[in-house]
Amino acid sequence: MKKRIYLDYSATTPMKKEVLDEMMPYFNEKFGNASSIHSFGREAKEALDIARDRIAKAIGAASSEIFFTGGGSEADNWAIKGIAFANKNKGSHIITSKIEHHAVLHVCEYLEKNGFEVTYLDVDEYGMIDLEQLKEAITDKTILISIMFVNNEIGTIQPIKEIAEIAKEKGVYFHTDAVQALGNIPIDVKELGVDLMNFSSHKIYGPKGVGAIYIKKGVKIHPLIHGGAQERKRRAGTENIPGIVGFGKAAELAIENLDAHIAHIQKLRDKLIEGIKNNIDYVRLNGHPTKRHPGNVNFCFEFIEGESLLLSLDMVGIAGSSGSACTSGSLDPSHVLMAIGLTHEIAHGSLRLTIGDFTTEEDIDYVIENLITIVDRLRQMSPLYEKVK
């Protein structure tokens, strides 16, 4: 079989066997509805409680502060719309950043069309927000600050604790999208002091279609999904028990293996970054050199375009992603690459390779070797390259 190397762990991860094993009985044997009073229902409820405890433990929260959702995007929607609608008597101003996931940015744009005001904070060349600009942006109408923990494209880690302190001092709620953070950096919600934080299961070797949000006790928030009394009347809909069980197990494993996981992927990340820098000219590492996701590699290769890079890599079995316009389905390159000040020309040549638990040293060697050939082949074809030669 053709060699296949998966380096797109920030897009999704393969589910671990232990996770699948734990989920299996909940599809057919223990299939009850957790709201039912009979033994079938109690079985499901018990599994739900265990999963909730595991998520809570993974982030230092109380179990009563964890609510399951249908994924990370739903949780982002819930956090922002839920806070906005529940607190609009207090104010109508929200602060976020220009490099948020679309599940945050598009919600903010929607709220802008519905009477809310939104400030989009700039970021520096590494993708870091400016705490002074944040302080200045807060007004007496500000009700929410939403800043992502770890950026999904360039891996930059924001100063969450400092942001939380500023928010607390001003009496503003602070939400952080921690989808890329969970299982990749240590998280303690109490120590960080955030009010809302959300996660996605399939980014941590769990099943797709399930996520969770931490809502600190006392936070005033409306539901997003109205209906039944599930999730303590805050998120209606029969719980996805197999998914939730899998997510709980994945979170437990992620925390048990956190140190080894970080050490493994960080070593390979640095090897890949060095390999690219030392062997290919006209490249730029995107994101922060040190405050970055331990498995994130994001480079721009000048004079070539991202989609042709991805296709070429795919032909030799390597799976990555790009922020070029041609891969985003829009006219412009990724908003994150634009926000860190890249020109369109440079941003079109971006490549994100994200490393995970199943990545090996041999994989990285293979990728570097192939990348050198592919970049050279595409540059030989590029009219931009002949001008600099």
Partner: protein
């Protein structure tokens, strides 16, 4: 996403390179939008005896450049000027809708090179009488139909 023909022309592009002292050179697109095509022509007695290209762009930009050069090689300049983007798309067994603009760019690159040849030789090629070399002929913004 892409047909086998597109992938073949992307992975094994025909006629890549430059022609020294080319008789006509056309360059269209811009780096800001993410694609530039440059076509070089060698013309003898009104026949395109050689053609080369260089392209910065996505897979379909490279494949359409390759196919466009194949379609005009050995043709008369009068025939070459009639090359349409649809002919390029058809020859490639189709392109995804958001990528059709690449074929438009390929057609434009061929016309730009022919125009350059006509200017250098002080002739008028039928079909290019009204041709105005645009600074940016890139029509990325029309009919992509995505979002």
């Amino acid at each position: 996403m892409y047909s086998e023909k597109v992938m073949d022309h992307f992975m094994n592009p025909r006629n890549v390179g430059e022609i020294e002292k080319a008789d006509g050179v056309g360059e269209v697109g811009n780096a800001k939008c993410g694609d530039i095509m440059k076509i070089y022509l060698k013309v003898d007695d009104g026949i395109i005896t050689d053609v080369k290209f260089k392209t910065f762009g996505c897979g379909s930009a490279i494949a359409t450049s390759s196919m466009a050069t194949e379609l005009i090689k050995g043709k008369s300049i009068e025939e070459a000027v009639k090359l349409t983007n649809n002919a390029v798309v058809e020859a490639l067994d189709g392109l995804p809708k958001p990528k059709v603009h690449c074929s438009v760019l390929a057609e434009q690159a061929v016309k730009a090179a022919l125009y350059d040849y006509a200017q250098k030789n002080n002739i008028v090629i039928p079909g290019l009488e009204d041709y105005v070399p645009a600074k940016d002929v890139h029509d990325h913004h029309d009919g992509d139909g995505e979002e």
